[in-house]
Symmetry: C2
Subunit: 416 residues, 2 copies
């Protein structure tokens, strides 16, 4: 018991120190003082190698800075808030491709002109995350109304009519659902409803809908989480249907654990731990080299994605949060030991002791494949908040208490 | 001299035997007897793991079968021609998303319903390749008119108005040119003009335009071939501008060598060998493990593509053709030795002695990353025709003759 407490305490300190290093890296290298917003294409030593601004990462960094400012005493620093606000203004001014239309670009030039548009909802999701957090730290209502209006638009695209996303209807395209969609929406429901009864009530039905849709991705008599299923929850044929993404399953897992806490449903919690934490870990952990494989085929066939056997930083960050939260919620020490296993691999393989921050992309054997610290899909988000959330979830008190997640810790968990 | 002749003769036999094995693999496993067309998602042992039909690969396999039938006595077999015709009918019936519009799908269901559409010209290019070859083997004029009408549509999209491709205009998107576009068009010019003075004359101006546009991709005082440049031939900023693809450069190289032969221009030939054969090989060949790296950044920075350091089969197939053709055209033994270097790596690393055909995707160290033999982007094309072209280019006669490319061999070279 005592030794467990010491190990936990040591991890809490390690997570905190690493968070400080990561935040320092982004504060030193990523701020665009001229146009606002953030450079995210950063080389190993932090040098900017491209000045394009990826909207996902702009929104996430604004969110992250606000969240740090709001939740951690030591990050309540004006330069974080100022940078977050400058990033928010950049998004307000430039993210939407054709205002008043809500569709956001995927990537902008440094000065905010649209370069590419994805026909999905994700830029818009991170726009909401940024705006809602800006509202929470500044109290300015215009941020909140931006967030809510965009949320209503996304819900319309997902549940009523996707035509505004720009994808043509094609007779051979299966009516499939990627788990990413209800997962992101569930995360937004939590974000918008935090300590806000009116919002929580507005999105209560959506909260349940998202959870039910995610749960449909448990297939094959409960033996696998599949990334894509039909809209009525059936397995799809071919590679699309057999595709597995352990990182997404684990991430969905801790979003669902938060949902189960909101619902006060311990049976659901046990189901989630079994299907979204333990199952993806068992199938996704590489027995030869350690680490989570990026993609798998549920029948054990070779995936067609070239990067399938690589190890990416973000599934590991999600797994750390998921296992700590599972442990906090259930008190099951097996989950704590899985956290240790993932965290040890992660700190050993992804962390760059020389220049700070984490490598994002390793070969199967754990060697570094890409030396970049930031790129089109990698920003401060998963490292920073993975560390922040995990650190706050660690409670080095007695490990067998029935629920170890304090309300304060729960509310600091980061979004998808 | 004599030893060189023996080595060449041995390679000619090896290439021929390997071609037979590859053709046998696809004939055994890929034919869809029910709907026509080809399964291309084939596992290591040839088993179909997905029945989607990728239009690039349908067009390429039709072309390949026709070309084998037309150019190799031993492949003049009715089952090749019948399968090619069934594939051609499948394309005629289903490839276009909304006939009479010309835009083709990227992927179809097994029974021909569109699943995805790319906003590029490449499905259409391979449709043309298939139709033109079908015309040449059957003499049926409807195939030729299909090819020419589609060609006119593509030229319109590329040179006049791209709006029919469906990409929205975005103010921040640079007016960039991917080398793939003039490269594919140059290849189509050669295809349509083969032994056809009327077609050669119709596309003579396009032939020159394509060559001039490709040559613009030589940048940095002749020290690098860049995959993307501005429309007026200037280097672009950021990762897009610094992107290099050695396989594309080598492939463009042998398309340009064919162009230089058409023009009877030995100075241009020397320039092409220097810039599109030797330069990409020098920068792209992995000094540690051998093989061509997939992508590079011209400044030596880390690319953002996860697969940048993998070894793919197709650049090696293109390199084999390019170096043999360069040798045939120039008689320079250095090029022959580069062919040997590439061919030895390729046969050692990509070939599957157990189940036939080649692996397509290796890790940097040469270990197999994906065991599939066919997938969304890998069909019979690059292995089969790389072997066929190379085999026909090998002339084990005296190595110092000024031009070693017979007209017959030249016309068998496969398209992009």
């Amino acid at each position: 018991m005592e030794k467990e407490g010491e190990t936990l305490q040591a991890w809490k300190e390690r997570l905190g120190q690493e968070l400080d290093r990561v935040v320092a890296f982004w504060m030193e290298h990523s701020h665009d003082q001229e146009h606002g917003g953030f450079f995210t294409c950063l080389g190993r030593n932090g040098k900017v190698y491209d000045d394009l601004k990826y909207v996902w990462l702009q929104g996430r960094q604004v969110w992250m800075y606000c969240r740090l400012y709001r939740k951690f005493e030591r990050f309540r620093r004006p330069e974080l808030l100022d940078s977050a606000k400058a990033g928010g203004e950049f998004l307000l001014r430039y993210a939407r491709v054709a205002p008043p239309g809500k569709k956001c670009a995927f990537v902008l030039t440094r000065d905010g002109r649209p370069v590419k548009v994805q026909r999905t909802i994700f830029s818009e999701c991170f726009y909401i995350m940024a705006m809602d957090e800006l509202w929470r730290v500044t109290g300015e209502a215009r941020y909140k109304s931006e967030a809510v209006e965009m949320m209503d638009q996304i819900v319309h695209w997902v549940r009523k009519d996707p035509s505004g996303l720009g994808r043509p209807w094609l007779s051979g395209a299966p009516a499939s659902e990627s788990m990413a969609v209800p997962m992101m929406l569930l995360n937004l429901v939590e974000q918008l409803g935090e300590a806000d009864k009116e919002m929580a009530s507005k999105y209560a039905e959506l909260d349940d809908w998202c959870a039910q849709r995610i749960l449909q991705h448990v297939q094959r008599d409960g033996q696998a989480v599949l990334e894509n299923v039909s809209e009525d929850g059936k397995e799809l044929p071919g590679c699309l249907g057999r595709h597995q993404n352990a990182g997404h399953a684990l991430e969905a897992g801790w979003f669902l654990l938060r949902h189960a806490t909101r619902k006060g449903d311990p049976e659901l919690r046990a189901h989630i731990i079994d299907k979204f934490l333990l199952l993806p870990f068992r199938s996704g952990w590489d027995p030869d080299h350690g680490g989570l494989l990026y993609f798998q085929d549920v029948d054990g066939l070779c995936p067609t994605q070239l990067e399938w056997a690589m190890k990416l930083w973000w599934p590991h960050s999600e797994a750390m949060i998921a296992f700590l939260m599972g442990y906090s919620d259930s008190g099951d020490p097996a989950l704590l030991h899985l956290f240790y296993q993932v965290a040890e691999y992660t700190f050993r393989q992804f962390r760059d002791p020389e220049h700070g921050e984490w490598f994002g992309y390793l070969n199967r054997d754990g060697s570094v494949a890409l030396t970049i610290k930031g790129g089109p899909f990698k920003g401060e988000w998963e490292t920073g908040w993975g560390l922040g959330s995990s650190g706050n979830l660690v409670d080095p008190g007695p490990p067998n208490s029935p629920s170890r997640l304090s309300p304060q810790a729960a509310s600091t968990c980061r979004g998808a």
